[in-house]
């Protein structure tokens, strides 16, 4: 089963950490990545650029209209993700708990299953 482990950033929670604590969170990602590579569960990971660099494209009457800023206006934003393939949802939750951001007060990792193109007769 494939899951997207989404790292939601809460800027005020993040800024409440000391510089050393922030560095420790970032460094701990290396350990997490090594662990899921070793277990054969790692597919892909990406960090996203700051939402202030985002653009939103809307096509109106066939004309693209580009505006600045993220699509959803909230203080939290998607900062990056891990795509994993693991045995079960329970294991995906276990993996999410290993991500250092999950332990930051005020932050959490969202676990969503990836849709697949296989189905049972009903």
């Amino acid at each position: 089963m494939k899951f997207l482990l989404m790292l939601h950033m809460n800027p005020s929670a993040w800024e409440a950490l000391t510089e050393d604590e922030r560095q420790a969170v970032m460094n701990a990602h290396e350990g997490f990545m090594a662990a899921i590579r070793e277990s054969g569960e790692f597919i892909n990971t990406q960090a996203l650029a700051d939402p202030s660099t985002a653009r939103v494209v809307r096509v109106r009457d066939g004309v693209p209209v580009v505006s600045d800023g993220p699509y959803i206006e909230t203080k939290e934003f998607l900062a990056g993700y891990y795509l994993v393939d693991c045995e079960s949802q329970a294991r995906a939750l276990e993996l999410a708990a290993m991500i250092p951001d999950a332990a930051v007060p005020g932050m959490g990792v969202e676990v969503r299953q990836i849709m697949f193109d296989a189905g049972m007769e009903m």
């Binding site: 277990s39 393939d85 299953q113 697949f116 193109d117 189905g119 009903m122």
Partner: protein, 405 residues
């Protein structure tokens, strides 16, 4: 695949099984067999050996010895080998079977058991297995190498038991069977591979009725494949399938195998499932299906192998015999079962039975709940379509600002 390559694929697990039995060291043996196969590909075209299996075994053993010579631990390992008791030489078929049991070792997770079985017994490449499961090759390579390390010591008394082997074979089959039409173009045919491996297991265990029954179940299920997807890739439920598309040869063989497995007197989960599949396969239409017999078979199955998924199927059969309210009453017993309470199949079956009772509003809500809960795209499309059919008002035309579609 040429006949030559098919021969090699059939021989590879036999040779690997024999080497692992003699020497342990699963991963070293596998490397040696790979090298022997490469040698065969280059050398056989200019002259086939009289006994291809013996040839491969000799070359692989030589490679293995070469590898060990180059290692400092050689002496220690040779001493350990000398202590290993090698009683009588079992047959090649037995070695393949032992390899299969080893790949289904209880220390491995189901996905690792599947990957290792396809690699070592099925002879698929890591790239093929990775493609079949839509993961990067590096991920699959790592999973297989971990699995090999776990079973490094070779055969022990802790190898997988028969139920584990059957479960792995059935997992491989279902992985292939449920794959959408689009995926068929990309995927290695896991369904055919599962059937081939189950035939191998049956050749080694001809008197084991559960193996025969699993083969029957696979053939009877796979026979429906041409009818189970619409040209647009949508799922076609059993009751709406065009039964003239079903594969008659597979049904004939499947029914014969199911009957022979049932005639042994005992009962087992695969025998019961094969018997149910045989009843469906022999029915000229959904309406003319012997639902009474199917309901009885599910009742026995839920007694000997209780499982909420079996209860779901049992509820459908009960609804067909006694009416939808009886089926719904059986479903209510699952609402407190955490394994299935939020599962889309419970909501989907409930929706179906509510539709039978003539309650379109409740049925539609249940179809939509099921559609939200599934992670399968074709299932979601199917469930949404069923829900849309039950809409009180015809759907409003979509608001498009661009040209009409």
């Amino acid at each position: 695949m040429s006949g030559f390559e098919a021969d090699l694929r059939a021989l590879a697990p036999q040779v690997l099984g024999t080497l692992v039995r003699r020497h342990g060291q699963f991963d070293a043996c596998e490397d040696a067999v790979q090298e022997a196969l490469l040698a065969a590909v280059t050398q056989w075209p200019s002259g086939m050996p009289d006994d291809p299996r013996a040839w491969l075994l000799t070359v692989a053993t030589r490679r293995l010895t070469d590898m060990w010579r180059s290692e400092s631990a050689r002496r220690r390992r040779e001493e350990a080998d000398a202590l290993r008791t090698v009683p009588s030489e079992p047959s090649a078929v037995d070695d393949t079977l032992r390899l299969l049991f080893l790949c289904c070792h209880p220390d491995l997770s189901p996905s690792s058991q599947v990957a290792l079985t396809l690699r070592a017994v099925g002879g698929l490449t890591t790239a093929q297995i990775a493609r079949a499961f839509l993961v990067p090759e590096a991920t699959m390579a790592q999973r297989i190498s971990r699995a090999k390390a776990r079973v490094r010591g070779g055969f022990t008394e802790h190898d997988g038991a028969l139920p584990a082997v059957l479960q792995v074979l059935y997992l491989i089959f279902n992985e292939g069977y449920t794959a959408g039409a689009g995926a068929d173009l990309l995927n290695t045919d896991l369904t055919a591979e599962a059937i081939r491996l189950t035939r191998l297991a049956r050749a080694a265990l001809p008197d084991e009725p559960e193996v025969t029954a699993l083969l029957a179940l696979m053939l009877l299920t796979d026979a429906r494949r041409p009818a189970r997807t619409a040209p647009d890739g949508g799922l076609v439920p059993l009751e709406e399938q065009d039964r003239t598309l079903w594969n008659r040869d597979q049904i004939t063989e499947g029914v014969r195998l199911a009957s022979s497995a049932m005639s042994t007197g005992g009962l087992g989960p695969y025998r019961l499932q094969a018997a149910i599949a045989a009843v469906h396969a022999e029915a000229p239409s959904a309406a003319e299906t012997d639902w009474r017999q199917i309901a009885v078979l599910y009742r026995i199955l839920s007694r000997i192998a209780p499982n909420p998924m079996v209860t779901l199927s049992h509820a459908v059969a009960v609804a067909m015999v006694e009416g939808p309210s009886a089926g719904l009453a059986l479903l209510d017993t699952l609402d407190d079962d955490s394994r299935v309470a939020h599962h889309h199949r419970l909501a989907a079956v409930r929706a179906h039975l509510l539709e039978m009772t003539g309650d379109p509003t409740a049925a539609r809500a249940a179809y939509l709940a099921a559609a939200r809960a599934t992670a399968s795209a074709p299932e979601q499309r199917y469930l949404t379509t069923r829900a849309d059919r039950l809409r009180a008002d015809p759907p409003a035309p979509p608001q498009m600002t661009t040209s009409s579609e």
